[in-house]
Amino acid sequence: MKIHEYQAKELFATYGIPVDRSIVCRSVEDAVKAYSQLDSQKVIVKAQVHTGGRGKAGGVKLANGEVELRKHAAAILGMDIKGFTVDRILVGQAINIEKEYYVSYVIDRKSKSAILMLSKEGGMDIEEVARISPEKIHKFVIDPSTGMPDYLAREAAFKLFDDIKQVRQAAVILQKLYKLFISTDASLAEINPLVLTKEGEIMAIDAKMTFDDNALFRHSKIATLNEPTEEEKKEQNAKNKGFSYVNLGGEIGCMVNGAGLAMATMDLIKLYGGNPANFLDIGGSSNPTKVIEAMKLLLSDQNVKVVLINIFGGITRCDDVAKGLLEAFKQIKTDIPVVIRLTGTNEKEGRALLQGSGLHVAETMGEATEKAVSMCQ
């Protein structure tokens, strides 16, 4: 789950991480009010959207004086950035930047740990730094049982600073950011850039956090910050029904039990010359109500011309699956052709039951996919 920069900065402030003074605004008038409150000739106006690259898209501007502020605020509010409409901007005091740094905590699959990443190349896209000069990124794997003790935070801070006073300031920020990361079950806590100001202060002037969806049950406050897009809402609705659903834009709707098999099915459709409409994993069992719900979901997609059902019958045997499917299809009225492929335990019995039901029955994934693709053309 993503949150906005201004929300992340509020969390930073709660955990004692220094941030620039800034105010979130939903209108030009709000922005003007914020400008007077900030009491700073120059301010930064930043679009608040759940996507990267807002700078390149023109969503970040420096305003010198109220006139410029009005102009930029008006331009950015309502702007479309990668499909996201900007409805909030963050107006912040402009900072006298001496130098910019990159800092983040992120989950690392390989070490099965949280890691701290730091770089003197702040303000840049970190993937870009990783590609061009990976030696400029320092990584610290964190032992979860000890976290970020003083020595480790200091060791990390020495990668960015030489002056011991700055090292100590930065070390405390690294410890606080780690605490925030762990306490909120974050999957990313990024400061890019962390800046050293001309006045000698170290502070975060951007803030990015994402959270582990599986842990939101114990972070109700953070969960309320969720702002799903329309597409994400659809996915979320599917999830609430026990499905995983992702729209892919093609014509062949698919319904599969199991995520891996569902991915393999959509890949096969492409391999056979078709276009998958979606990824849809209906989970372990395949009871009639679930099939009905899944079919409704598939048929709500106007692009779908054929439905391909691919079920592996394991613990639930194919003959039981077939009975469930027949029951479900009694209640679904549609002209869209449905291809069913049923494999696994008792597959012959299962397929036999489906014969004569009006559903197109196939033996293998290949055969089923070929059928579905040809019906589409």
Partner: protein
């Protein structure tokens, strides 16, 4: 031989009085797995399908000599269950539970490792050494004893592949579902090494998917260390970036973790990659 579990493996079920725990305990027991006990705090003295229930894993281990545990407790309690098992001396911990917070897995994983034990999962179907022992929720009837080791990030896709193998007469030494989360226990490299060293195993099937770079590292490892034939299938070529494909770990982030990269890595390492699951038996045969 087989890896990790065999007919001597003594298994307890944590959360045995729950719906899934009870159902699969009976399934495992029926398959012939030595299910020696289960735990459910406060229910010591009860039994589930003839399996004795204990209050704590320590009690269960003391009474039954269990060395392996399979965990079915709800996600918020999974970390505690994993740590309890490791602390009580369990050597193989198989966590079926889905939706465990990543930081919980990280904490439990490091603790388990420190205790000298192994973790499989969470969010996994478990593992099976066909005709010897089943620890997890795999549909045992699609498996057959034989020489192919199977490692997979997926559940039903594994059954699909195994079903194809079995139908072609290719049995399995052990099949392990490593789990679909970004952070899980035993993974490709450790299991490849175990299969390489296992005398029963004569070939290996690796089933990967999008997300992370474990397949790329596995490809490099196979080139350096694996002498047995390996065939690979990678799911998710059509997955769009930034979208989680069912498994929490199946996501292309910042443009990396794509199926194309993974397939290229295996091909560069000389490991054949199947275009569809049904090609796997053929690829294995070609290599032999």
């Amino acid at each position: 031989m087989s890896i990790l579990i065999d007919s001597n493996t003594r298994v307890i079920v944590q959360g045995i009085t729950g719906r899934d725990g009870g159902f699969h305990s009976s399934k495992m027991k029926a398959y012939g797995t030595n299910i020696v006990g289960g735990t459910s705090p406060g229910k010591a003295g009860e039994s589930v399908d003839g399996i004795p229930v204990f209050n704590t894993v320590r009690d269960a281990v003391a009474e039954t000599g269990a060395d392996t545990s399979v965990i079915f407790v709800p996600a918020p309690f999974a970390k505690d269950a994993m740590m309890e098992a490791a602390d009580a001396g369990i050597k193989l911990i198989v966590t079926i539970t889905e939706g465990v917070p990543t930081l919980d897995v990280i904490e439990a994983y490091h603790y388990i490792k420190r205790k000298g034990a192994n973790l499989i999962g969470p969010n996994c179907p478990g593992l099976i050494s066909p005709e010897k022992s089943l620890v997890g929720i795999m549909p045992s009837m699609v498996f057959k004893q034989g020489g192919t080791g199977v490692i997979s990030r997926s559940g039903t896709l594994t059954y699909e592949v195994v079903y194809n193998l079995t139908q072609k007469g290719i049995g399995q030494s052990t099949a392990v579902g490593v789990g679909g989360d970004p952070v899980v226990g035993l993974y490709f490299i450790e299991l490849l090494e175990m299969f390489e060293n296992d005398s029963q195993t004569d070939s290996i099937v690796l089933i990967g998917e999008i997300g992370g770079d474990a397949e790329e590292r596995a490809a490099a490892y196979i080139r350096e260390h694996i002498t047995k034939p390996v065939a690979v299938f990678i799911a998710g070529q059509q997955a769009p970036p930034g979208k989680q494909m069912g498994h929490a770990g199946a996501i292309i982030s910042s443009g990396s973790g794509t199926a194309a990269e993974k397939i290229a890595a295996f091909e560069a390492a000389g490991v054949p990659v199947a275009q569809e699951p049904s090609q796997i038996p053929e690829l294995l045969k070609n290599r032999r």
